[in-house]
């Protein structure tokens, strides 16, 4: 069934991307679908080798949620891009991978919360047996967040550099940049808190979920258009 979902999503992504006039002329819907597809692919490949079992399920829940967003945003106007395409492609790739890493961190945080609830309520069922330990989920969430933070920082740097190169000014007051910087700062706070502590508890995992909600808000609701008049 998962394989069928993967084939269907790959086909949909291929059809969407094949209709793009150019690589960078994508919509938010395409981006969400790409992040969703990346998550599904990574989990399936890893599962085939290491049997991560229920992780696939949670990654798919998140992936499906993103795909739903993608469907809802199909009517969005496409961005109108500017020169220095190569740098822009690097920026987009880094941002996409960073968002995929954060999506994984979110999936691990959800799993942590579910397992923690089972352990607190002394509910010993299949979920309890199949979900990894709290320590493992905490480590995976930390790792995914750290990777996401690094990639996002690089994406912001390349984006700003592109702005300077093409628009001849730094885009520090651009709403998209501000929102992304806020999201990055939220994740950085999470990483700081987690490193100071020796393990994540429920509150920190809720905070991790909040970080991802903020990221979604940034991804789908904050306009990615470049400042008016400069194009």
């Amino acid at each position: 069934m998962l394989f069928t979902a993967f084939v269907a999503m790959t086909t949909l992504l291929f059809l969407r991307l094949s209709r793009l006039p150019s690589v960078i002329d994508y919509s938010k819907s395409d981006l969400a679908l790409l992040v969703s597809w990346l998550m599904l692919t990574v989990t399936l490949v890893v599962d085939a080798r290491f049997r991560i079992g229920v992780v696939v399920f949670f990654a798919n829940v998140v992936s499906f949620g993103l795909a739903l967003f993608a469907g809802g945003l199909q009517a969005d106007a496409r961005e109108h891009w500017l020169p220095a395409v190569n740098l822009l492609i690097v920026h987009i790739a880094l941002a996409t991978l960073g968002e995929a890493a954060f999506a994984f961190a979110f999936a691990f945080a959800l799993m942590h919360l579910v397992q923690e609830r089972h352990l607190r309520q002394h509910r010993f069922d299949r979920w309890f047996l199949q979900l990894p330990s709290l320590a493992t989920l905490d480590t995976w969430a930390l790792f995914a967040s750290a990777v996401g933070c690094a990639l996002m920082l690089l994406a912001m740097a390349t984006g700003s550099f592109w702005g300077d190169l093409v628009l001849h000014r730094w885009l520090l007051l651009w709403p998209k940049f501000i929102a992304t910087a806020v999201c990055w700062a939220m994740y950085a706070i999470y990483l700081g808190l987690r490193i100071v502590r020796r393990a994540a508890d429920r509150r920190l995992m809720f905070y991790q979920v909040a970080c991802f909600v903020a990221l979604l808000f940034n991804l789908f609701l904050v306009s990615g258009r470049t400042p008016a008049g400069v194009a």
């Binding site: 352990l119 002394h122 010993f124 069922d125 709290l134 320590a135 020796r198 508890d201």
Partner: protein
Amino acid sequence: MHIIVVGMSHHSAPVDLRERVSLSGDAHSHVLTQLGGSRTVLESVVLSTCNRTEVYALVNSTHAAHDFILTLLANTSGVPKQDLSEHMYLKQGEAAVAHAMRVACGLDSIVVGETQILGQMREAFQTAFEAGNTGAMFNRMFREVLHVGKRAQTETTVGQHPVSVSYAAVQLASKIVGGLEGKVALVIGAGQMGALAAKHLSAQGVKRVLLANRTLAKASAIASEIGAQALSLDGVEAALKDADIVVSATGRPGHTVKAAFVRQALVGRRGRPLVLLDIAVPRDIDPACAALPNVYLYDVDDLNGVIDANVQERARQAALVEDMVAAGVRAFSDWLTEQEVVPLIVALRQKGEAIQRDVMESLVRKLPHLSERDQKIIHKHTMSIVNQLLREPIQNVKELSIASGDLAYASMFAQLFGIDPVKTDDEAAESRAVRLMDVLSRVLGEVSHQGQPNLHPVLR
């Protein structure tokens, strides 16, 4: 021909008998040589582990082969044949093949789902193969057996659900702190339960085990055995600060571990979780500890809950493995049937080609003016007629034979097309008997195997 397994395991024989019958080195080779030289046994594989000794054999006569194998094992082990026969089982046909698959999957092991047996089964087959004791049928059968065993290991978690209290405690602690390696465990109480818990934790790779007891001398004695550190009950409060896992089993009235101790111990832990396992009755640890942040408290009832979950999950996984075994038996049966239909198909094709050849020769004689090109075209088209006529009947007889599991349809097919495959008298008699039984069962409206397709006669 029949597939049988004659053997003994922990289900049927005590350990003293199993160890006498167990075959290793020269004895194993000797038994294989004897089986290879027998007229009754056509193919054989000998599996001998610490918990089972089994001979899988393809035989002409079940009764004669059973007797031969019993005698052989009695002579090799020195155990009287009568004693041996009381503790050995005989399975044949489908039951024997399914048994081999269950053994390979670890379903028949003492520790259900253990994985070592698959390697032992592979080695047993390899040894028999190298000794020349296996042929086409056992090569295929054991390929299927090992495939099912591998699937059970990789696609299910049948071996990952232990059902003892000590394992449940370890499992529960591991779900919180991850692996136990590098962790610090504090065991309170050096009675039977406490000592067992300390030994078990030590065996699981815990970095440091602290054993606290009212009588320090008793704790010291046990601690020195397992490389733990002994302390008195007064030292528990301080030891809590370092501990990741606490197992309490003093059995004394009142709470040995008070909530105030634990609250104090949480200072400076920086969110590091603390697992408290109270296996004493009456309980040793203050239930109020459960409300503290990053503290997870469980008692004996919780451990029983974990065991119940493991039992249920193991049953679910075992059912999945049973499905794999059934599919494996089915695949082997289909292969057996195909092997018998293939010669008929070859014979039919040869007959078709012979007819086409005769027709071509006749045409060339009657129409001598045909050019070489015309002859090629006519040859191509007449062959096409033969192929088109035979395609569907061949496909149908393969499918019907696999579905029915015997040669009744193949035999009818042969008669319809006037093919007469060579058969020995025994095979012909067996085939007639099978056909008769098949007809009778259909007349009586019997649906074999709950509506599933029949298995090949060798597996019945």
